[in-house]
Symmetry: C2
Subunit: 474 residues, 2 copies
């Protein structure tokens, strides 16, 4: 493979899209793809291909690609596996550069005839100059270009790219990431992915001005060297998080029947990811946490962390989590202690880092005030601010107090150039009022651009990994 | 300490309670304790002690303990530290066996005078035969006895005991545990805890018929041998989960200023916990996951796990999580494969363990059907059933389909004597409709007695630890 940037512009921003196997059945993928273009406001012509229907979801339908009255950059295939070869011929004959095969049941079934059909399709497409995305993948989600593989996904646009071998994992990451404030640019579920590979897409995304951070979920790669080159190119320019699945023998067996991937040794993968300067996630949760840390927070300059919020027990647990994640929980320095003494002399020798919120009550110093003092001190490189919402929930005016504290916190975080992870716990309560309060406040913090984590442990993990990766690059 | 069961019955089931420092200010602990007894339906007399008020929260108030017209088993102290010694004298004079000191600002402040006052109080109480719970702790939550340290906590009763050195951690565990279906019996936040120690309480809970499982959050213990003996006694009779905090140097420093605890070496603690036959949690999240696994699921007989649900990518990740947690992801055995062949011949050689839900569509076999077949097979000891809710959310009749699948799943789980962890992801979406659907269905599963986990990774961790602990005891 050449080291030049691959030309995938028309894949990610097609001027016109045709959907083979478009369906009038509203509960089918062949309908969803057409509806998605509508919902996401795709600006070019949309051509459903259907032998019987006159229109699908309000768009005029055509019996096949040859009857379509304009140039097409991308064909999305929902036809059965047996009909794909003819579709490839149609693409070749009409000059379509990109064919996305949502169509599945190829090599991943373990059936040799199905695998042979996949190879034949790839060979013929290569001869005709048609690039293939998939098969066995949901394809493209790129709201800025009006593309989505499901009409109910979030329509907001952003700069986080995500490459996923698995479709359900792509949907989960989009939905859950969106709730965390991650706004996506180019998302690709590439399935078996042997023609357009994740390595090629990483090389493309490395130079893509829209993309500010990249995540990838990989079960196996057909081209190890190409993947490594793409990973190095991308990680040299922006944060990249790799979630490698199929690390164990059971996982590898499962990957073979999912995307026909050869999963490969876990230890080797960790080394490769680290050497390339990327971050490694070992679960979807870690992937999301690392993307939130890398995409929403400024890069940390060192590992000395200021921790505020929550009661005494939480402070002990937070200190453990930070230190076990490679962060240094530096004791309160003299300059901060003097500032505390001016306002609350009785606390000056007792208060520590992590700051125990419960001993501040009535002292004239708030945990937000302490966070400001600590972020202003040269002793700290980064911070974790724990809301400690359970304390507020017990008070009569819980919502007002909680919102007031969060607004002050946001102001403090925004005023500092240092990264601060904000922790607001999961909505784990049977109390519907509490649930609504926590969800609402979390949405407000997220909308305000905060990087929100569900626990101090998860925030510490993400920050620790990001610091280690940055230090490794210096 | 003697090895006999300590007599703490009157502490956990006092016949009458007095609250020293009871307050008419509704936003104060001195009011909350009185209100809590009311809300939780405490059946005996309640005596607020207040020099000025005639009544507090509807109960007649008395100027001091000597004026109270009946016997008192438990005094809750919200008075300042300087007033405690006099209260101890009053307890001694009136024959009160238990004094709970919510009062704080003793040795945990690092101030030598405050530490000396604490020692004086303990010495004098011992002379007078008054047992002390605390100081610096919120005390007792025991809904079955009408006791609680906050009026807004859940009032339902159960058999899970929890000992916590930290108060905010106790509140979080109660609220979050309740949302997970953990119904609590005796919960104690014992703070500095040097008289009534966690070791003594563990010995008591070992023989307590109400208690079916025990969790403990410990920063440090004043009496290592007593703790170990209590832990061994309890873990020999019921599942015990220990969350030891203050494992790192920063954590230990923080623990000293929180509860004056001497935190001690992490490695030694892990060994002690394992030797006693208890389970070790390294975060609150792990504590809750282990309690859900130990208290809500039958004990597993081995480590061979059946995994169903979610798409292909999830299956790969689930296999990794199980194998990395010490569970054996046994391939589908011949007996199950033959049952699949009868109903869906095209899947019989493709389907594996974990079961990829996405390839079952339209096959006549559901993932619940497969779970039933796998649980019925001798090849498996336990299971994980992943709801895979994100797939349902994309369909037009999401809620009906999801509820139908969950009801079938519950029936399958209840029909089997093998433990099955149910996974329903976190409510991480900005879509309010999706949020409501997930929360409602989770509440229904929890109310149905299912052990719910937020991710396959967390379920696998908990099951893996429980299996290893049971195998270690054989």
């Amino acid at each position: 493979m050449p080291a030049t940037t691959p030309n995938l512009d028309r894949l990610f921003r097609p001027r016109a899209v045709a959907i083979a196997g478009a369906s009038t059945n509203v509960d089918s993928p062949g309908h969803d793809y057409v509806r998605s273009l509508q919902v996401f406001g795709f600006e070019g012509p949309v051509y459903p291909l259907n032998l019987k229907a006159d229109e699908v979801a309000g768009f005029r339908a055509y019996p096949n690609l040859r009857e379509v009255p304009g140039e097409v950059d991308l064909v999305i295939s929902c036809v059965p596996a047996g009909a794909v070869l003819d579709l490839v011929e149609q693409c070749g004959a009409t000059g379509v550069p990109f064919l996305h095969l949502f169509t599945a049941r190829f090599s991943e079934t373990g059936d040799e005839q199905a695998a042979e059909l996949e190879r034949t399709i790839e060979r013929r497409a290569a001869e005709l100059g048609v690039r293939i995305l998939g098969p066995n993948g949901m394809g493209l989600y790129h709201p800025a270009a009006g593309l989505a593989f499901r009409p109910d996904l979030p329509t907001d646009r952003g700069g986080v790219a995500f490459l996923s071998q698995s479709g359900n994992n792509a949907v989960e990451v989009i939905l859950r990431g969106n709730a965390r404030g991650l706004h996506f640019g180019k998302v690709v579920n590439y399935g078996n992915g042997k023609d357009i590979t994740p390595g090629e897409m990483l090389r493309y995304l490395a130079d893509d001005p829209e993309t500010i951070a990249i995540g990838a979920y990989v079960e196996g790669v057909p081209d190890g060297r190409g993947f490594f080159e793409g990973l190095c190119a991308a990680a040299a320019r922006k944060p990249v998080v790799i979630h490698k699945a199929g690390r164990t023998s059971a996982g590898a067996r499962s990957a073979a029947s999912h995307t026909a991937a050869l999963a490969g040794a876990a230890g080797l993968w960790s080394t490769v990811i680290r050497q390339a300067g990327a971050l490694e996630a070992r679960s979807q949760e870690q992937l999301l946490d690392l993307l939130v840390g890398a995409a929403l927070l400024p890069a940390p300059k060192g590992n000395r962390i200021a921790v505020v919020g929550g009661g005494g027990g939480r402070s002990v647990q937070s200190a453990d989590a930070c230190e076990e994640s490679g962060l240094e929980v530096v004791p309160l320095p003299a300059d901060v202690r003097e500032k505390v003494r001016e306002r609350a002399p009785q606390l000056a020798d007792w208060i520590g880092n992590p700051v125990d919120q419960s001993i501040l009550a009535g002292s004239g110093v708030s945990s937000n005030g302490l966070l400001e003092m600590m972020l202003a001190s040269d002793a700290y490189d980064l911070g974790i601010a724990n809301i400690g919402e359970d304390w507020f929930l017990g008070r009569p005016d819980a919502e007002e107090r909680l919102r007031h504290a969060c607004n002050r916190l946001m102001a403090a975080v925004k005023a500092s150039p240092k990264p601060v992870a904000v922790v607001l716990g999961p909505t784990e309560t049977t109390n519907a009022r509490y649930r609504a309060i926590i969800d609402t406040v979390r949405d407000e913090l997220t909308a305000g651009g905060m990087g929100i984590f569900y626990s101090v442990e998860r925030a510490a993990f993400a920050l620790g990994q990001i610091v280690a990766r940055n230090q490794g690059r210096e």
